[in-house]
Symmetry: C2
Subunit: 461 residues, 2 copies
C-alpha cells in the first residue's frame, strides 16, 4: 500500500507522486480489500439491512452543524469554471461520514421509506485532518443503522454488535472485542451522587474519557479541580474501571451503593446487550463502563471495538444510539448504528502484511497459446470455462510454454490449460503449476477445488 | 430515482433538497444498481481483469491537460480551513473519468505491476457539466483496460467488446449493439484519395462525425467548403455509410476502389474484431465505419454501444485503443479499453421503470415474534438461517401476526417464519405470503427456491 508521505509535493504534469492521506492499493492488496468488503456486505444483507448510497457532497452549512471541529476537516468542492451556471452561490463539501448524509436522506425520503428502516452504507468519506498511521484523508466506512419514527425499540441496541461480531468472525482480523456501555449508567450514577450538580454530567464524562490516556491519578485531580468531592471522584473512577464479559457488571455497579431510576434503565439495557452477546457471540462482547464516545449525540448504548494486540490503533468500529438521528422540526427519528472503519483496519492488516492474497488477479486458469493463429481455439476454451464460472485469461503471446507458465506463476495463477496438450488423446490438458501435476481435461467438465476458484485471502502466520 | 431538478436551491439547515445532477436511489432501486454492478464485476473477473481503485482526486494540472474542455468540467477540492497544513498551494480536482487516474497509477506503480496489465475499475467520477437526462454530475463508470509496455498486441482490441457483450447479455438491458470501427480505415482511405492534403485527416473525421446530427447533404457542403473535391466528399460519405454485421464491410470498402497500406492494416484489424464477435457474441458486434470517437487520442479500434429503441440516449459504453495511454518520457504504455456508463444506463432503465427489483430489502424471510419476551427464540432462528446463507430479519415488535405479515408484504419479503407456529408438531412453520401456503419447517434444514433467496431484478413487461 502506498499511503503517501507527509512531505508529498504537488505532482507536475510529468511527475507522479502519491498524495498524503489518499492511499491506493496494488492489485493483490485490492483483492484483500474486496474480500473484506464482500464479507461486510454479505453479512449486512444476511441481517436484512438494505443498501443505500448517498451523493458525495452535502451543503457545507449542514456538514458544519455537526460536531465541534467539523469545519477544520471539511473539503470544499466548487466548479473550477465558476459562474456560468448560477449554482456557485451554494457551497458544497465532501461528506466526512455516513451519518450526516443518512440523516438528510431519511428526511428527504421519509414518505417513501418503510420504518423501522434498516440500512447499510459502504462508501468513501473525506476528512482534511493531518494524515497519520491508520488515519486517512480519503477512507471507506461501512455503516449499519436502524432508524424509526418517534420511538426506537431498545432491542436494536443489542443487535448492532452481533452483526459486527459476525463480520469479524468471517474475516481474518485476529482476536477482537466489542466494548459496550450505556450512557445512562454513568448518567444515573453521577446524578445519584450529585456529580451532575458539582461538575456536570457531560464534563465528568469528558474528564473520565481521558482515563486511558492520562491514568486514574490525573483524572482524579481533574475531577477535584472541576469541583468534585473526593468521594464523588472515587465513585466515578470505580465505575469506569468495571469491565466484565458476563452480567456480573450489574452486581459490581450495585456494590457502589448508589441507585437512581436512570441507572436502572441503563443497567437493564446493557444487560440485554451482554446477554445477547453471551448467547450469539461468546467472548466477543464485553461490558466496559469507561466507554463514552461522541459526547454530544449518543444517548444510550455506545460501542467501541479493539483488535487485541493492536489496542494502540484505537477503535476500528464504533457507534451508539441517538435519540434524534434526524429531525425536521415536526418529526424526530431516533436511531442506533455502528460504523466499521474499513480503511483503518486494512491500513493495519495490509500495511503491516498481516493479511495477504494468494494472487494478484481473479484468474484461476491461464489458457496457453500454441501459436498465434491458434488464438480462436484458446478463446473458445476460455469462453466455455467462463460460462461455467471459472475465471481465466488467455496467454498474451504464443511464447515458449515455459515462458507462458512463468507468466501464470508471476501472478499466482494456479492452473495452465494446454489446448490439445494431452499427448495420448490429443485432447486438452491442464497443469497445476504448484505441484507440476498435469492431467487430461475438458473445458465442459473440468473443475478445480473451490479454494482455487477465488484468490485465497489469509492471515500471515 | 431522484436526479434533482435544475432549479434546486441550496439546502438550509432545516431544509433538505436534492442537488441537481447528483442522483440518489431508493432501496429497491439501489438493488437494481447493485445487481448491475455485481454482473459487471463478476464478468470482468471471469475475463481475468484485476480490480484497482484510485483516489478521487488528481492534481488539477494533470486533469486539465486532458481533453479540450476539461477545465470547464472539473470540480476543484480544497480544505475549508486552508493554510494550516501547508498543502493548499497544491490544487486538486475530483477525477472526471477513470483514464487519467489509471494512466497516472500505471506510471506510479510501473515497477510493481505485471504487464500486459489487465485491470478493471468501477468508481464514481464527477463532471461539472450541465445536468440533463442521462447525464449526471456524479456518476459511476465501469472500465476495463489492457495496457502494455512499448507494444500492445492487436488481439486485445477484439477482446474488449466480447467482455461488454457478456455483461449486457447477463443483465436485462434489452437489445444492444456494439459498433466498432478502426481509425486506420478512414485514415487510409483519406490518404489514398488525397483528403489528407486537401482537408486533413482529423478535420475530415471531425466533419464526418456530424453525420448523425446534420445528415449527409450538410456534411458534403462542409467538406467542400473545407477544400475537398466532389469526388473526395463522395468517397468519404460512402465510406461512412458502410455498416455490416459480418465481414462484408471489407468488400464494400474495396468497392470504393482505393488502396493504401494503412487501410489494409485497419481492415485486417477490424475483420479480426468482427470475426471474434460473430463467433462469441453473434449479432451484437457490428462494423460501423462512421464511428470516430475521441479524435485526439484513439489510434486504432474504437467502440460505441447503443441500446436499440433508445438510440437518442447516445452511447452507453465506449472506448478504443491509444498508442500512448501513459508515458513518462522514456517508456510509453499503449492500451485499449472500454468504459460502461453505469449511471447513464441505469438513469434510463431505473428512471423509466424498465427494470425493477422484487423487494426493497435483501431479507428473504421475516421471523415473526410471538411476544416481546420471546425475542431470543426468534433471534436463534435468525442466526441459524443466516449461518446457512438465508438473509432474514426479525419482526420489530410482537404486533398481531396480521400486522407482522403486512410488515413483510410492504417490503416484498416473500416468507414469514413462525417459531412454534406448527400446531400439529409444536415446531416452527413458514408461510409463503404470496400464495398463503404454510408448512412445518426447521431452521436447520429449510430452504427456499434460489430465485427467492435474492431479490429478483427483472425487466418490466
Amino acid at each position: 500500500m502506498n499511503a503517501g508521505s507527509d512531505t508529498a509535493k504537488p505532482a507536475r504534469q510529468e511527475k507522479v507522486l502519491p498524495i498524503s492521506g489518499f492511499p491506493e492499493y496494488l492489485p493483490a492488496e485490492r483483492i484483500v480489500e474486496q474480500r473484506f468488503l464482500d464479507v461486510i456486505r454479505d453479512t449486512f444483507e444476511l441481517h436484512g439491512f438494505s443498501s443505500i448510497e448517498t451523493r458525495s457532497i452535502e451543503p457545507i452549512d449542514r456538514l458544519s452543524a455537526q460536531g465541534e471541529d467539523a469545519d477544520k476537516e471539511i473539503y470544499a468542492v466548487s466548479r473550477l469554471a465558476a459562474g456560468d451556471s448560477g449554482d456557485n452561490d451554494t457551497r458544497w463539501g465532501l461528506h466526512f461520514d455516513m451519518t450526516v448524509p443518512f440523516a438528510r436522506y431519511v428526511l428527504e425520503n421519509a414518505g417513501k421509506l418503510d420504518f423501522p428502516f434498516r440500512r447499510y452504507q459502504i462508501q468513501k468519506a473525506w476528512r482534511g485532518e493531518r494524515p497519520q498511521e491508520g488515519r486517512y484523508r480519503e477512507f471507506t466506512q461501512a455503516d449499519i443503522d436502524v432508524v424509526d419514527v418517534g420511538e426506537l425499540s431498545a432491542h436494536f441496541e443489542a443487535e448492532m454488535p452481533l452483526v459486527v461480531a459476525d463480520v469479524f468472525s468471517r474475516f481474518p482480523v485476529g482476536d477482537f472485542v466489542i466494548q459496550v456501555n450505556n450512557r445512562k449508567i454513568p448518567d444515573g450514577v453521577y446524578r445519584a451522587i450529585g456529580l451532575d450538580v458539582s461538575v456536570g454530567v457531560i464534563e465528568t464524562l469528558r474528564i473520565v474519557d481521558k482515563l486511558d490516556k492520562i491514568g486514574p491519578d490525573k483524572v482524579r485531580v481533574m475531577l477535584l479541580e472541576a469541583g468534585a468531592t473526593g468521594a464523588q471522584a472515587s465513585t466515578a473512577l470505580s465505575l469506569a474501571e468495571i469491565r466484565t464479559t458476563d452480567l456480573s457488571f450489574v452486581e459490581q455497579v450495585r456494590a457502589l451503593g448508589v441507585s437512581h431510576p436512570v441507572l436502572d434503565e441503563g443497567l437493564d439495557s446493557l444487560a440485554d446487550v451482554i446477554r445477547a452477546g453471551m448467547e450469539h457471540a461468546p467472548g466477543r462482547i464485553v461490558a466496559d463502563l469507561r466507554i463514552a464516545r461522541g459526547l454530544d449525540y449518543y444517548t444510550g448504548t455506545v460501542y467501541e471495538t479493539q483488535l487485541l494486540g493492536h489496542e494502540s490503533w484505537g477503535s476500528f468500529c464504533s457507534g451508539g444510539r441517538y435519540d434524534a438521528l434526524a429531525s425536521d422540526g415536526r418529526t424526530t427519528y431516533p436511531g442506533v448504528g455502528i460504523s466499521i472503519g474499513v480503511s483503518r483496519i486494512l491500513g493495519l492488516l495490509i500495511g503491516k502484511g498481516l493479511v495477504t492474497a494468494s494472487r494478484s488477479t481473479p484468474a484461476a486458469v491461464l489458457i496457453a497459446l500454441n501459436a498465434d493463429e491458434d488464438r480462436p481455439r484458446s478463446t473458445t476454451v476460455a469462453a466455455t470455462l467462463r460460462r461455467r464460472g471459472i475465471p481465466c485469461e488467455i496467454a498474451p503471446t504464443a511464447a515458449k510454454f515455459g515462458k507462458q507458465i512463468r507468466y501464470a506463476a508471476r501472478r499466482g495463477i494456479p492452473y495452465v490449460w494446454f489446448p490439445g496438450g494431452d499427448h495420448e488423446t490429443g485432447g486438452d490438458a491442464v497443469k497445476d503449476i504448484r505441484s507440476g501435476d498435469q492431467t487430461a481435461a475438458e473445458a465442459m467438465t473440468w473443475t478445480c477445488p473451490a479454494d482455487d476458484l477465488r484468490p485465497a485471502v489469509t492471515r500471515a502466520p
